[in-house]
Symmetry: C2
Subunit: 123 residues, 2 copies
Amino acid sequence: MADVGTAKTAMPAISPLAGEPIKRADAERLAGVLKAFADPARLRLLSLIQSAPEGEASVSDLTAPLGLSQPTVSHHLRILTEAGLLEREKRGVWAYYRLVPSAIAAIADLLTPPRKRATKKAR
Amino acid sequence: MADVGTAKTAMPAISPLAGEPIKRADAERLAGVLKAFADPARLRLLSLIQSAPEGEASVSDLTAPLGLSQPTVSHHLRILTEAGLLEREKRGVWAYYRLVPSAIAAIADLLTPPRKRATKKAR
């Protein structure tokens, strides 16, 4: 039993926008992480945790502002943790969640188009 | 009948990571665009178009490298165009697709965590 949640989804090293076709396996891994992001409740969860005073929150902090039940919030937190976007730390009877900025920044980097493509026919 | 495809999905102005909770409507809009990204075939399509010699491709350029039928490729291209990630230009009998780097960069920006959060207890 681990007290601290760990990412189960490995991030592809190669951006789909790097200028050469990505492999099917890399596309599947990146799509998996993006699916964790691509949900309104999970985006609001990330936003609420990011906005919390110490940058962390427990399930019970999140149910009221989201208007969702505790099992539903726990379900979304588990998906985000398994995607590596949140880390979970158990202290006493409560588990606290915080963002993993490096994992989120890695996704943002993979989706950043190379500058040479920003202007057509740059060369 | 428009020859050039236009984005139907408005991008939220506020990042979920900006430090205050995003509104439900903004979360729903951003989730909609992220869902367009969050599919292995569509990530490969974006990557193939980005890698094409002039940064553009027609449906018939894309079926063989993806190993998907023409209707399936067209379906994915439509989703990406409606999300504003691709633009479509009809020339003669063919439609050509290219990335919209500004739209993709906007998504990457929304997912970029503020630097102050990158180190815990920075202040």
